[in-house]
Symmetry: C2
Subunit: 185 residues, 2 copies
DNA sequence: TGTAGCATGTAAGCCGTTACATGATTGA
DNA sequence: TCAATCATGTAACGGCTTACATGCTACA
């Protein structure tokens, strides 16, 4: 069988499956990067362009995706579609392996842990800046959610987007409470 | 100045600073791993043992920590303490650099996105398993929180632990709502 | 006496990033 | 015509993991 792929590889494969459902001619590496910026970035990682191309080459080598080259004027673009074995490999992965517990890399929490090294004002500023960025992210995610509409085809991505928004809301509440605690003493 | 360290390096330095506050003779790599399993694991990453030793060597090379070798019977252990420059380097990092936005690697959300490839029952099981693991984590974190007590020296780590618990609570609520949505239709 | 835990490291290798390199197309 | 965006890759390297290697100590 396939030499086990990285989770990021499966994630990209997943994005390509969605594209197949909408029956276009596939995605270029560039387009795949744009999709992952709008989806994977919120609950996984959005790989660098160079990584996207590397993964696409690997998936092609494993015959899980098929490239279609097209000439558009003077330029040649390469669009990838998921193959039947690719779709199967993804389904097998979902079915036969367990989801790991999430890993959170939270520099704000990490720095808060060392709050005793700084004046309280600096810590408060950091938390406030984080709340501001959460608001920005929330807006971005809301735009993604709205772009998905109520189409059943995007039922699951819509759920994930709403999960993300609810998470951002919860973070804002929690951090607001922390700021209040920082102040009263 | 110091060639910029990784965030993980600063995180470990931070743990050693706490140890300094309680005026022991420092920590061994092994002990540092235990501490990071109980703290960093919840909002950063708990590095592998081998990585701990590598970071400790680096921090020593940069003279941000100082080792003290001790003979305990036939065995020689090496305990590390933060140096004054080490403490300063950590403070400078906190003061002079911005906290990045958190990165969440959430395999459950990732897999949920691809829910259309699986029977709903499988997705429900995955979410339920996640809720169960959240409860376990919550219990672990609660134990950590209680071990910190109300000592002002641990005020900030206590806040971080409570943040973590509140986050787990929020996740449970959100996922429970998702499961209900999965069911009614 | 044997096993779990304490303790310290090296080697190989994966995953991913940044930097570099190149060029076409669109639209102001 | 110039800048932004589309488009595709390679090279160097950092950070981290797993596997390997070694040995002491406490205690059941």
């Amino acid at each position: 069988m396939h030499p086990r792929l990285s989770t990021t590889s499966y994630a990209l494969l997943g994005l390509l499956v969605f594209d197949g459902a909408t029956s276009t001619a596939g995605l270029t590496g560039y387009e795949l990067k744009q999709r992952s910026d709008k989806t994977l970035a919120f609950y996984w990682v959005s790989p660098a362009m160079s990584q996207i191309y590397t993964e696409l080459s690997r998936l092609h080598r494993e015959e899980l995706v098929a490239p279609v080259d097209a000439r558009q004027g003077r330029r040649t673009t390469r669009r990838y579609r998921v193959t039947a074995p690719g779709r199967q490999a993804l389904t097998d992965w979902l079915l036969l392996s367990e989801a790991d517990f999430p890993v959170l890399k939270h520099p704000v929490a990490l720095r808060l842990m060392m709050g005793h090294l700084l004046p309280v004002s600096k810590t408060r500023e950091m938390l406030q800046a984080y709340v501001d960025r959460l608001a920005v992210r929330h807006t971005e995610l809301q735009a993604v959610r709205e772009s998905l509409g109520d189409d059943v085809a995007y039922r699951y991505p819509a759920m994930v987007a709403e999960w993300g928004m609810a998470y951002y809301d919860a973070e804002v509440d929690i951090v607001a409470a922390l700021v209040r605690r920082l102040d009263d003493r």
